[in-house]
């Protein structure tokens, strides 16, 4: 059990772009940190500890906990690095939550970042997979996701058009977010006419590579209200991992997300997630996930995800808007991506999401996904949880 409740009290992010050659990693991190401190009206001396991470091997340098100290504000402070692949950003958020909830720290700065422009993303991801059993045919994140989508489509009859509808939604939402990388609407035909990368994934179905950083300040309940009148309370966190080798995955279902979401709903007493949750920031690296995984989240029955999407329920004015930020399809600085989902959900709860604000959000959900089919979930609330 948590020793104290925890809230997000400050958020900062960079204006994410495909290339940031004007800054090094430490300077990129510093931009997000300065904005988060300004947002919370705190100074670096108020910060008790730092949780930082990115995806190892994604730049020509590892061990961000060491070399980023001047930029992160970690000089002579406790620093913990977390790196869990695609879920790094959401793991950082959960790790930050644990650090404060333990009662050992009251003000923790959580930082995720990536400079994808300085990496060979596919080569770097490949290093996470077994050299003997996994690498012969492996082709980075897209290959596994394509196999997942094929399995789902064969079982439930979903189509390319269904996937494209999700991409159209997120790319439209992205136009409301000044921080995101790709802000251009597309049509379903444009998605379907874009180059096929790995069947059934077209270029416009999938996320870009991004340089960016995100920083979130978490505080314990005794100091939260001294910092802000509009905190984002973290109600619950959950995380599940599954397999050893890629061939072990249950392709077409995200079992880790199904299990993690049920843990969250049980903790918070949520019975009808589509009705009770106001907005979801889903770590959705490609369009087809927006159909499959909402079924695993319990928002639609198995095989009915596409129908739910086409109904408009997940659009900005729908029953449960998804990815008001534009999501991962518009912007993917990988080590920051999961933390951006958390930050964007927090902004919605705090009422600070400006042009992408969903009205009257009481509860929000943010998720993280790793290429190894594991899931992180956080539940955010406007009210302080009574458990």
């Amino acid at each position: 059990m948590a020793k104290q409740r925890v809230a997000i009290v400050g958020i900062g992010q960079t204006y994410h772009k495909s290339h940031r050659p004007d800054v090094n990693g430490q300077e990129l991190i510093n931009e997000a940190v300065q904005r988060a401190l300004a947002d919370a009206d705190l100074t670096i001396s108020d910060i008790d500890a730092i949780v930082i991470g990115n995806m190892d091997h994604f730049e020509g340098i590892n061990y961000v906990d060491c070399w980023s100290v001047d930029g992160s504000g970690g000089f002579m402070k406790p620093i913990i690095k977390l790196t869990t692949g695609g879920t790094t950003g959401s793991t950082l958020a959960i790790g930050g939550y644990h650090t404060v909830a333990s009662g050992l720290f009251d003000r923790v700065l959580v930082i995720g970042w990536e400079k994808n422009s300085e990496s060979d993303t596919t080569g770097a991801i490949t290093t996470a997979f077994d050299p003997v059993w996994d690498r012969l045919v492996f082709a980075g994140a897209i290959s596994g996701l394509a196999a997942e989508a094929q399995a789902y489509m064969a079982k439930y009859g979903a189509t390319d058009r269904d996937g494209a509808r999700v991409s159209v939604r997120d790319r439209k939402h992205a136009c409301n977010n000044p921080y995101t990388q790709l802000r251009k609407e597309v049509t379903i035909d444009e998605v379907l006419d874009s180059p096929m990368l790995a069947d059934p994934i077209h270029l416009l179905d999938v996320c870009p590579r991004t340089d960016g950083a995100c920083a979130v300040i978490m505080a314990g309940e005794d100091v939260v209200e001294k910092i802000t009148a509009t905190p984002d309370w973290i109600w619950a966190t959950a995380n599940r991992h599954t397999y050893t080798y890629l061939g072990d995955a249950n392709f077409g279902r995200l079992d880790s997300m199904a299990a993690a979401s049920r843990e969250i709903y049980d903790k918070a007493g949520i019975r009808e997630p589509a009705k009770e949750i106001g907005v979801i920031e889903l770590y959705q690296p490609y369009s087809f996930a927006g159909i499959m995984w909402i079924e695993d989240l319990g928002l639609a029955e198995y095989g009915k995800g596409a129908e739910f999407i086409w109904s408009g329920a997940t659009d900005m004015d729908g029953e449960i808007p998804f990815n008001p930020s534009g999501g991962v399809i518009a912007c993917n600085p990988i080590g920051a991506t999961g933390l951006i989902r958390c930050a964007e959900a927090a902004l919605q709860v705090m009422g600070k999401a400006e042009g992408r604000q969903v009205p009257d959000v009481d509860l929000a959900l943010s998720t993280g996904f790793g290429g190894c089919f594991w899931s992180d979930i956080l539940l955010h609330g406007r009210r302080k949880p009574d458990f």
């Binding site: 003997v132 059993w133 012969l136 980075g140 897209i142 790995a198 050893t244 061939g247 072990d248």
Partner: protein, 154 residues
């Protein structure tokens, strides 16, 4: 005026060898593949799940597995994709020849999927559930490349 030319730091003609143990179960699999063209999987004594490649622990039951069972060599496509985008193969440093069929093969008798190339000469036949068989290399060395690819059985 900013000079934005990239500076190249040379590494010379570098090799990057590393050691990697596949363990006793993995070694048995590769030896059987090389010597007898057989696929050896391992069965969990508790949940009875048949794992390929073989490994010592069933993660779900968290028990040791030591009962080998032969699976395949025929099977069916569990799922697949056709890789069409060009990328640098980190195993070779060279551009990977595309397109190629990336198969997750359900070998007869196995519960997990075995990854390998699938022949895509006739793409219309590459479907989930299609029957496949391995095409072995003439000279086998005890690596996963002792199978050249899986071909679809008409």
């Amino acid at each position: 005026m900013l000079d934005t030319e990239h500076v190249i730091i040379e590494s010379g003609a570098a090799r990057q060898p590393f050691n990697y143990a596949v363990g006793l179960h993995g070694s048995l699999f590769l030896q059987e593949l090389r010597d007898n063209r057989r696929f050896m999987a391992v069965k969990c004594p508790m949940c009875k799940k048949v794992y390929i490649p073989p490994r010592r622990v069933c993660g779900a039951c968290f028990v040791e597995m030591d009962k080998f069972v032969e699976v395949g060599p025929k099977g069916s496509i569990g799922t697949f994709t056709i890789l069409r985008y060009a990328f640098i193969d980190p195993e070779t440093g060279e551009k990977k020849p595309v397109p190629y069929g990336y198969g997750f093969i359900r070998l007869d008798g196995a519960d997990t999927l075995f990854q390998h190339y699938i022949d895509i000469q006739d793409e219309s036949k590459v479907k989930i559930g299609a029957r496949v068989e391995p095409v072995f290399a003439d000279e086998r060395k005890g690596t996963i490349k002792d199978i050249r690819y899986f071909r679809i059985i008409d």
